[in-house]
């Protein structure tokens, strides 16, 4: 829309009730729309939305823009806006600067930024309490570990990844003070070999659980865990998945027996957030300029049950409650 009525964030489109003329799109970061991570999750959200409101894929409905490198962010955001998508999502903290820049120019378009905060009236900032989710899987790991050695493998050294590490560490320490945690950042998200080598050294050093927040690099962790499991099925060796429920990644069969090395996953429901914000935009209360935090309470962050025993689940549950009640304040950084 271009008429002044939209100035307040395009709400009027929705209030007229004709939801079908609402259009929404997302711009991926370089991970791409099927990164088995938050880009993919966000896209699944849009597809679900499209199904619910029978929107067409494409202009006037819902669609995505693939960024092949960082220089594409602005172009894609602009292109989305210029194709009159009412709401445009930017997925990933790397889009913070670009989305600010574009939002300033495209005042008539609603923007939503995932995983970072941009203070502009036509940008809704969506953050997840990754640290709290990480805390909870940390609790699970702290209780599960037999060797009292736990690893964390992160991707590039960034705020986001440190958020994961800090929360995880706190979680483990909360339930198991004398467990030692080996935190290692691999400087990237695409080197599975490095991930596997790193996992080999951690497991070899006695760790029995590794939490990864390292994308493709993380797949190497699963590979190593499955290898070890395959050689000694009875050995307790686990990976904690991230972003999506990574149960599938951990599955393997040894002599007909099914095993799974995925202990649990810190699930980040970007899809929920995306649908949520979209609906609010349709209904005319687009939270422009606000920071909306999706946490445990909002079901934006989940802990997958996968391999967790009942008592651990119960423990996790109680810590969940304490966090919700604000009795526990999970740190955002390592310090």
């Amino acid at each position: 829309g271009t008429d002044d009525a939209d100035k307040d964030g395009g709400g009027d489109d929705a209030s007229t009730g004709e939801t079908s003329d609402f259009s929404v799109s997302m711009v991926t970061d370089t991970g791409g729309v099927d990164d088995k991570s938050f880009n993919q999750s966000a896209w699944e959200g849009l597809e679900a939305l499209g199904a619910d409101y029978d929107l067409e894929k494409g202009v006037g409905g819902y669609d995505y823009f693939q960024s092949n490198n960082e220089a594409d962010y602005v172009t894609n955001l602009k292109t989305a806006a210029r194709n009159n998508f009412d709401l445009v999502f930017g997925i990933g903290y790397l889009l913070e600067e670009p989305i600010k820049q574009v939002a300033e120019q495209e005042e008539d378009t609603m923007f939503a930024l995932v995983d970072a905060v941009a203070e502009l009236d036509n940008i809704a900032s969506i953050t997840f309490t990754d640290h709290e989710g990480s805390f909870l899987v940390g609790v699970a790991a702290g209780l599960q570990t037999k060797t009292n050695k736990i690893g964390f493998i992160g991707g590039t050294d960034s705020d986001l990844i440190n958020k994961f590490a800090a929360g995880f560490k706190a979680g483990v320490e909360a339930v198991n003070p004398d467990a030692e945690i080996d935190i290692n950042l691999t400087g990237g998200f695409s080197d599975a070999a490095r991930g596997q080598q790193l996992a080999a050294s951690m497991y070899g050093g006695g760790a029995d659980i590794i939490y990864h927040a390292a994308g493709e690099t993380g797949t190497g962790v699963f590979t190593e865990a499955k290898n070890l499991k395959q050689q000694e099925p009875e050995r307790e060796i686990f990976v904690i998945g991230v972003d999506r429920d990574q149960e599938e990644e951990g599955a393997l069969t040894v002599e007909g027996e099914d095993y799974n090395v995925t202990l649990t996953s810190m699930v980040k429901r970007v899809d929920v957030a995306v649908q949520d914000i979209s609906k609010r935009a349709m209904e005319g209360d687009f939270p422009g300029g606000e920071v909306i935090e999706y946490g445990i309470e909002e079901e934006g962050i989940l802990v997958a049950e996968t391999n967790l025993s009942q008592e651990i689940l119960d423990e996790v549950e109680s810590y969940k409650q304490q966090i919700v009640d604000g009795e526990i304040d999970v740190p955002l950084t390592m310090e």
Partner: protein, 318 residues
């Protein structure tokens, strides 16, 4: 962790991380020994990884436990065919071999991801149903200390070393090898000796495709266990470096690839030792690359490429 197990991990992860690089580098050796530069190794790995994964996903039920191995054959075949594009361009059409190699890299990623999207509706495949696992070599793996260190790994790691030895034998002991090298050193001379320069170069490039594809297939089925645009990111260039580092010699290339794998796991293991714990992370991450440069500067020194490398052979031109 204690020294012994540290060493065990060191050797182990060196072996599995190097295997794809060794195989791909060997491919590079064949092609460049025949006088055809091949910076398309990256692309050949990509296409190999793609082929292996797709095959594994499609035929797991048909071939059962044998799937990964048959998939490797598929990867080799596809890699070979793919490399023929490079051959036609750089041998018959006299294209600049570097450009053609660059094009191979573009094409491989483009085609791979494009087809995955077309077939699976996603830019990334599912995990392969029948991946490869570490295998304990009977008897050998029971030897104390050395056993677990050397003889509990992917079979493909040993395959890589065996292929390297075969490659050395073929290149330096057989008539075929002599002819192949002569074509890379002095094609006109080879021509006057009745050797078909074009045929030899085609074969060499084809072999590089087969081995590059194998390298990619091994990586995909042992390490990443799925395929996406991000599966192969730079390994092909490391392999290219290994070709030169190894002075265009099969065993040299193997050594270089092993060295790199070792440097990588050293950096990782080293990180877990207190004495290195206050080295900044970026330095540790860069260590393998820095070590490689130091090794070259320190004791490897100059390397002489095959004399005719990079120049298309044109009959009747002096």
């Amino acid at each position: 962790m204690d020294i012994v197990s540290a060493f065990e991990i060191l050797v182990k992860s060196m072996l599995f991380a190097s295997a794809p690089l060794i195989l791909t580098a060997l491919g590079g050796v064949f092609s460049e020994r025949s006088g055809v530069v091949n910076i398309g190794l990256e692309g050949l790995m990509v296409i190999g990884a793609f082929a292996a994964v797709v095959f594994n996903l499609t035929f797991a039920s048909t071939f059962g436990a044998a799937t990964p191995w048959v998939a490797l054959l598929a990867a080799m075949g596809i890699g070979g065919l793919f490399s023929l594009i490079h051959a036609v361009a750089s041998i018959t059409f006299r294209a600049n071999q570097v450009v053609s190699g660059v094009a191979i890299n573009f094409l491989a990623v483009g085609l791979g991801v494009f087809l995955v999207k077309a077939w699976y509706g996603a830019g990334q495949t599912a995990k392969i149903p029948v991946p490869m696992y570490y295998t304990q070599i009977p008897i050998l793996s029971d030897i104390p200390v050395i056993g677990p260190m050397f003889f509990n790994n992917y079979l493909t790691s040993y395959l890589a070393i065996i292929v390297a030895i075969i490659a050395w034998f073929v290149l330096f002991k057989t008539p075929f090898g002599l002819r192949l090298r002569s074509v890379g050193e002095h094609p006109l001379a080879a021509d006057t000796m009745g050797i078909n320069v074009f045929k030899m170069r085609y074969i060499a490039v084809f072999i590089s495709g087969v081995l590059g594809g194998l390298g990619g297939g091994v990586y995909a089925q042992t390490i990443s266990q799925d395929f996406s645009g991000g599966t192969i990111t730079g390994q092909g260039f490391i392999a290219l470096a290994a070709v030169i580092f190894g002075k265009w010699h099969p065993l040299g290339a193997m050594g270089a690839a092993l060295f790199f794998g070792l440097a990588q796991s050293l950096a990782i293991i080293g990180g877990s030792f207190p004495l290195l714990s206050d080295v900044p992370n970026w330095a540790l991450l860069s260590a393998p690359y820095i070590l490689t440069i130091l090794a070259l500067a320190g004791f490897i020194g100059r390397a002489d490429a095959p004399k005719a490398i990079g120049t298309p052979y044109i009959k009747g031109k002096r």
